[in-house]
């Protein structure tokens, strides 16, 4: 090794360390870390000094004071007497709402588009190509503003709201739909549903065992559907449909009763999902193309039909390529949801980082908290996706 040879050089003291390749690397690394920390320390100290100079001390006690403002979409109980902390939690839950709906929608649309993009049908192929290129090459903020403008300007006023069977109403104040109230017997259905899931899992194991032993393939999908959906529906009908629906009705200025999906939530979710779906479609296409065509041929040669080939050979291998970039798309979508502020959707950026920040004047504290919140959400998503990726990755024997 050259390192050994260099350190053998007859040179005394500290200088000999510099001639040692490994020691030199360590010295450079220590120096780099020192510079980075010095820079961070300088910035932190500067901020502290300037905050002190204008007489602002760093503290989080303001979070417990009443927020004094109202929020239009709350998943937990909240009023203007609740604390700033609660307002922040309401904001976080609203962020989750957008992120979860958005991720779900983006994944479904993205997978469908990604598969269609590989279609041999030229028209279908080119249409998806155009969609992907147009959608992903326009900034997401513009999509959000466009969607919001579309919802607010083109949908009718509540007084002229469109409806489906007088239970679902569409207006520029959002979609109003019936909300369920569960009667005690309903929980029997829920119990059957859970039992159905457990039964399906056991049946799948049984089917695999049968297949391993005899080669016979049992209809797993249909039996599972029957257990998970069919059985609860039967029980539901049998117990006399133990759900009461609160139907929205126009009263005064707005619809009362039922649940409302606000136009801001609709616009934001749609815009984020469509934008991200274009990226996911490309990931899916890349993942499928990454599986060598020889795999398909080999599966066919073994006598597997087309759908079994896709299900057992192509998709499992494609997922290994798809999942890592999919993770970063999920993260992007979640972080992009902070653009909600442009259309007045009350996510955590709008509550904690907007109104609370402005009404209390605690810029530093609010921004630090906000960064910590987004960081935790992102890390949670990526650790889940990493776990999933590990689960599906190639097990080499």
């Amino acid at each position: 090794m050259s390192a050994v040879a260099e350190s053998d050089r007859p040179s005394a003291g500290l200088l000999s360390l510099w001639y040692n390749r490994e020691a030199r690397q360590v010295i450079i690394q220590i120096f780099t870390i020192a510079v980075v920390f010095a820079a961070l320390f300088y910035l932190a100290r500067n901020a502290a000094i300037n905050l002190e100079r204008i007489g602002k001390d760093l503290g989080f006690a303001f979070l417990l004071e009443p927020s004094s403002y109202d929020i239009n979409q709350t998943f937990i109980e909240y009023s203007s007497r609740s604390s700033h902390l609660r307002a922040a939690v309401v904001g976080v839950l609203n962020t989750f709402a957008v992120a979860i709906c958005g991720v779900f929608l983006a994944t479904v649309v993205g997978f469908v588009l990604g598969v269609l993009r590989l279609s041999k049908n030229l028209l279908m192929n080119k249409m998806v190509y155009c969609y992907v290129e147009v959608v992903r090459n326009v900034p997401v903020l513009l999509w959000i503003l466009l969607m919001h403008g579309f919802v607010v300007h083109t949908l009718p006023h509540p007084k002229q709201a469109g409806d489906i069977a007088e239970t679902f109403f569409f207006s520029n104040r959002g979609i109003n739909m019936p909300s369920p109230t569960f009667e005690p017997l309903f929980w029997a259905c829920a119990l059957v549903f859970v039992a159905g899931i457990v039964g399906a899992v056991f049946y799948k194991r049984h089917a695999k065992k049968v297949q391993d032993e005899t080669g016979k393939i049992l209809p797993v999908l249909w039996v599972s559907l029957g257990l998970v959906i069919g059985a609860p529906v039967v029980v539901f009908l049998f117990t006399g449909m133990p759900i009461e629906w609160s139907i929205p009705a126009l009263k005064g200025f707005n619809f009362q009763g039922g649940v409302t999906v606000k136009p801001e939530l609709m616009a934001l979710t749609l815009a984020l999902a469509l934008y991200t779906s274009a990226f996911i479609a490309e990931n899916v296409r890349a993942g499928i193309l990454a599986v060598n065509y020889g795999q398909t041929e080999a599966a066919h040669a073994l006598g597997l039909r087309n759908n079994r080939t896709l299900q057992l050979v192509i998709i499992p291998q494609a997922m290994r390529v798809i999942v890592p970039p999919l993770t970063s798309q999920y993260l992007n979508l979640t972080k992009n949801s902070s653009l909600a502020i442009a259309i007045g959707y009350m996510d955590v950026t709008a509550t904690l980082g907007g109104i609370t920040l402005n009404q209390t004047g605690r810029e530093m504290e609010c921004m630090l908290l906000l960064m910590a919140i987004y960081l935790s959400i992102s890390l949670a998503i990526s650790s889940f996706m990493n776990w999933y990726n590990k689960r599906i990755k190639l097990i080499e024997r």
């Binding site: 403002y69 203007s80 707005n254 502020i341 442009a342 007045g344 980082g353 907007g354 810029e363």
Partner: protein, 338 residues
């Protein structure tokens, strides 16, 4: 917006030691330009005309300060801000003085570290609705969707008002007056609430102003006034007395038209003091003795500024009301220059 607030917060962090304690007056003089923080656009108060020139009630007070300090009312750079970014912008040193329909409150004074200099418009929060709704009183607004600018005192008053009256409402938060106008006209909200003056100003820009009414209830006190950063008393004095001079000029009948004549031949000692013929009041605040004369020459007295921008003969058409001089039944009352 998020990016902007972060940048502003970042700027606040990175600001060097010169900001908080420095003599803003010297900075402005050295720069040769006043940085004045105004709204992003509210007709009558601060807006740009077709040629890109800033006009309006608040804008004229900024020009008055520039005239006093720099001798030229046009040497102003306007820094447009939203209700949310204004205080951070001021504290981060992006502007020297804030004239942005800002309500004077205790927490802003004490906790946000601002120094308020007085009141240039006595206002109160009102509601505007379309006539088609058939609403005649704010008490009938139960269940309505209300457009509200975030980061304002009106946001807090609104929550208090509806809670106190036991009514429900859907807040529709928006950032700027322009956004509010769009959402209100598109019917996203039934009601637009802000200071009554702002409502009148917004209404003037509608295609059909006659179809919208401002409800009679005024639900809060909104004394609007200028502010500077806390900790620079000399600069606060300059701004405070420019404001007072503009108000007192009206009281004594000094106008942009007769100011030269009055300075040459002051009819009474008060006018002589304001116009720097007697005493050395200008020097006391670090300016020369003709400071107030320049202000009045550049922008006129309070009445002139009011009538030109928002008065009964403009399309906004606000009455003087509380903002009349104390001698005329209003509460406009300036401390004397002596």
């Amino acid at each position: 917006m998020k990016l902007k607030s972060i940048l502003v917060a970042g700027a606040a962090m990175a600001m060097s030691a010169t900001i908080a304690n420095a003599a803003t007056l010297d900075d402005v003089k050295a720069r040769g330009e006043l940085n004045c923080i105004v709204t992003t656009g509210l007709v009558g108060f601060a807006y740009t005309d077709e040629s890109g020139k800033w006009n309006g009630f608040d804008v004229d007070f900024c020009r008055g300060v520039a005239a006093a300090v720099l001798g030229d009312g046009m040497k102003v750079k306007f820094v447009p801000t939203t209700g949310k970014t204004r205080f951070t912008a001021l504290n981060a040193g992006e502007g020297d003085v804030l004239y942005r329909n800002t309500t004077v409150t205790m927490s802003r004074d004490a906790d946000l570290k601002l120094t308020f200099l007085g009141v240039n418009y006595y206002d109160g929060q009102g509601f505007m609705v379309s006539k088609d709704l058939g609403v005649t009183s704010a008490k009938e607004l139960d269940g309505a969707s209300v457009c509200i600018q975030t980061g304002t005192t009106t946001e807090l008053n609104l929550a208090d008002y509806f809670r106190a009256t036991g009514m429900s409402y859907e807040p529709v938060p928006i950032e700027t007056n322009e956004e509010a106008r769009t959402n209100y006209l598109a019917g996203r909200c039934d009601v637009y609430t802000t200071d009554a003056s702002g409502l009148a100003a917004s209404r003037a820009t509608f295609d059909d102003p006659k179809n919208h009414i401002i409800l009679p209830e005024i639900i809060s006190k909104e004394p609007l006034g200028p502010a500077v950063r806390q900790g620079d008393d000399d600069w606060a004095d300059v701004n405070r007395w420019v404001l007072n001079a503009i108000i007192e000029a009206e009281e004594f009948g000094i106008t942009s038209a007769n100011v030269d004549e009055m300075a040459a031949n002051p009819p009474n000692p008060s006018i002589a003091r304001i116009l720097g013929v007697e005493g050395n009041y200008g020097e006391m605040i670090g300016l020369d003795n003709e400071w107030a004369k320049r202000v009045i020459k550049a922008v006129g007295n309070y009445g002139e500024i009011f009538d030109r921008n928002i008065g009964p003969n403009t399309e906004i058409g606000l009455e003087r009301g509380l903002n009349a001089q104390w001698k005329d039944g209003g509460i406009l009352y300036s401390a004397p220059i002596r």
